[in-house]
Amino acid sequence: MIPEAVAPLLRFAWTATLLFLLLALSITLVLVLRRLVGELAAPRRARALAAVHRHLLEAALGRRDPAAVPPGPYPPREAVAELVVELAAMGRGEMRRRLAAAAKALGVLDHLLARSRSRRAALRARAARRLGLFAPVAPRAVRAALARLLDDPAGEVRVAAAETAAGLDGEARRAVADRIRRDPVFTRRLALPCLERLGGADPALLDSLAEGADAARLARLLEAAGRARLLPLAPRALAALRHPAVAVRLAAARALVEMEHPRAAAALAELAADADPALRLEALLLMAERPRAPYLRILRARLDDPDPGVAFRARHLLARLAPAAEVPA
């Protein structure tokens, strides 16, 4: 016997479920219709995008006045923004300035500035990356937006803003360097491209960040220094070869190899004789990335490595580097 007292609850359960079902089915149907309308409008939108594409290209090449807006219909501004980014990658200097002017006339800058205030961090970050293109035509607006985004609560937005600002003038770069010095997000891997971009012009900044850094941060900074081939940081990499942390020793050796430093082979030899077999293996892999004649001696020394994995890899690398006759069976 089911107690009568639960009847209202049961009634509520099935009514609420049916209402939920009705709502879900209606939204699904609306989405299907929206998609259908989108599919029907797709050819028209593609034509509009092609017209805008033509206009932007001709404006960038100086064949058309960038300020003259072509007749509509226009595709969504986000699509135009993507198109502008694609076209911008193909040109430099005056061409990019004209392209930015044409895009600004089409409302792309306003769209990006609005996006830079979106509630979604990913959209703000995307806007931050694209704003740099408009710096030559609207420097004040872009600098103000980037300054605001540099203080954004989301790390990825700050990184994106810093990357963009690092490519601008001296004042913007100083603001970025300032932010990097006091922002923990720049110790993460994602911020490295930005650090490298700035570091290329300001090795002292990287060096100052390495001062007192923990092992993980130091390793990443050394990797960044290596990729940017910042020779002024070589002494720090050489000193780090004896760091107690495995990751730092590896990053230091990698940095020296990337910098093509004269002591790279010696660093690799030291790494290949490390007590940690994983590190010895990594040293061999580093040699595989940039094979050089001096490495043969290091590889031969590792053929009798107590770790079979290291010996196995040394044998294989030696087979690639040296004539077959020189490789022991």
């Binding site: 016997m1 099935w14 479920t17 694609e86 994602l190 196995f312």
Partner: protein, 478 residues
């Protein structure tokens, strides 16, 4: 009190208990749907890869793709070629031929001009003996290992020993990855240094047009059974896994496509060979290991990376697959059930992950099945029987349809991977049909899996696969 009234009271109690379990299940799914919606709104998936490459090219950690293969001669060469062509800055592919009886190894040796490497590889994990290792002279990123047959976990362990990447990605040999899937999946490792594992979305490849190991045209399955599974996968990945990851309770990273930190997997002793749910088991061990050591860690799910897999096209194969999955889930659940007794220590993965596994995947299917069987009988017990029957039907069928539609809405609003409006409509229809027999069938399979687990059954069983649709010569040339 007479015997009849006692039985009636007991019947009423059973009916209400079954209803309560079903209600809990559907409310829990509704919670997951809400959390998944919030997760997608807070961090919308990236649709374009152009910027992703430039952002990650310098900072993406090195990665090893592990491909266990057993009797895959028909597809292995195309699969490996497609893997080698993936967009990722630093990666290698380690194919493990797990004692194939066909020409899997011969096909690989011929296609990639493999050369044997002298000396046995080091043995650090438990696995069957290795017969040999081959490397391609022209493709330094490819390694092939041949070993005695030992099962998928065993093959993964052999691959792990030769892997050199900071991360390892396990991929089934018959699965197809989208070219940018690794880049997308690796993003959490870059953004969050505590990330130890990342799962990606798996989709049903039946019906898709495949050329040289790559999906060139995503289509919905033409047959109803795989189409129902396509809907089921959308619900499982877009709704459930995303929500669990957001709640810090993701306990499954699909074996078809999952990324792990190699050092951690090695530290844990690799994959366990005594379970058919090795992916689930590994993630549970990661949770346990990190929490016991107070180590900060995170297991993420990224909805955008897509791995295409073949779904069973016959009911019999589907039943085998689901029975095996359920057995694997039970094996892992009971291997780690003690975590439930210490919720403070093991937190969300124990309470939400294991707890809901028990309530939603073990208890609820049994309750639902029992409910369908007992509903006509319970009608005789008296009281507001009509209300109970309506509420049951509404929750079991209507609630299921609404939740599937909810997942489809999320998919369309945030991911938009369904190719056309017509396909979206077909999937919506599948969401309805799925709840009128298919879900009940899967529940029966789960119960059989339960019984098999009680009997101590082992092994994977064979599932017939049709192979991916290949273009005709005309299509290929065009």
């Amino acid at each position: 009190m007479t015997m009849t009234s006692l039985l009636l009271a007991l019947g009423g109690l059973v009916a209400l208990t079954l209803f309560a379990v079903l209600l809990f299940q559907q409310l829990f799914y509704l919670l997951l749907l809400t959390v998944a919606l919030a997760a997608l709104l807070l961090r919308p998936p990236r649709r374009e890869t152009r910027t992703l490459w430039s952002e990650l090219v310098d900072v993406a950690p090195s990665l090893t793709i592990l491909v266990p293969a057993h009797d895959e001669e028909a597809t292995i060469v195309d699969s490996v070629r497609a893997l080698l062509a993936l967009q990722y800055p630093r990666f290698e592919v380690v194919v493990v031929d797990d004692g194939s009886r066909d020409a899997t190894l011969a096909r690989l040796r011929e296609a990639f001009a493999l050369e044997p490497v002298a000396g046995p590889p080091p043995q650090r994990l438990v696995r069957a003996p290795v017969r040999g290792v081959w490397r391609a002279r022209d493709l330094p990123r490819l390694t092939v290992v041949a070993k005695e047959n030992g099962g998928k976990s065993d093959a993964l362990n052999a691959g792990l020993e030769l892997a050199t990447g900071e991360l390892v990605c396990s991929v089934d040999a018959d699965s197809l990855l989208e070219s940018d899937s690794l880049l997308r999946a690796v993003e959490p490792f870059v953004l969050d240094e505590t990330t130890v594992a990342v799962g990606g979305t798996v989709r049903v490849a039946n019906g898709c047009r495949v050329e040289r190991g790559r999906v060139v045209a995503a289509e919905l399955p033409r047959r109803w059974l795989p189409r129902l599974q396509a809907m089921e996968y959308i619900r499982a990945f877009v709704m459930a896994r995303l929500a669990f990851a957001r709640l810090g309770a993701l306990t499954i990273v699909s074996g078809a496509f999952g990324l792990f930190r190699r050092d951690l997997v090695l530290e844990l002793g690799g994959y366990r060979r005594d379970t058919v749910g090795e992916d689930f088991e590994l993630v549970m061990r990661i949770h346990r290991h990190c929490r016991e050591r107070g180590r900060p860690y995170a297991v993420h799910f990224v909805p955008e990376p897509v791995c295409w897999t073949q779904a069973p096209e016959r009911w019999r194969d589907l039943a085998r697959q689901r029975i095996r999955w359920h057995r694997g889930a039970l094996e892992t659940f009971f291997a780690h059930a003690d975590m439930l007794t210490r919720p403070r220590r093991y937190g969300a993965p124990a309470l939400l992950g294991l707890g809901t596994l028990f309530l939603v995947d073990v208890l609820a299917p049994a309750a639902e099945l029992l409910g369908w069987l007992l509903l006509p009988v319970l009608g005789l017990t008296g009281g507001p029987v009509l209300d109970l029957a309506l509420a049951w039907l509404a929750l079991a069928v209507g609630g299921g349809i609404a939740l599937s539609c909810g997942a489809l809405i999320l998919e369309e609003l945030e991911l938009a991977r369904v190719p056309r409006a017509g396909d979206l409509l077909r999937l919506a229809l599948a969401a309805v049909v799925e709840n009128l027999g298919y879900r009940q069938f899967v529940n029966v399979c789960r119960m059989i899996g339960h019984l098999q687990w009680l009997r101590g059954a082992t092994g994977w069983g064979r599932i017939a696969r049709r192979g991916f649709a290949r273009p005709t010569s005309g299509e290929a040339s065009s």
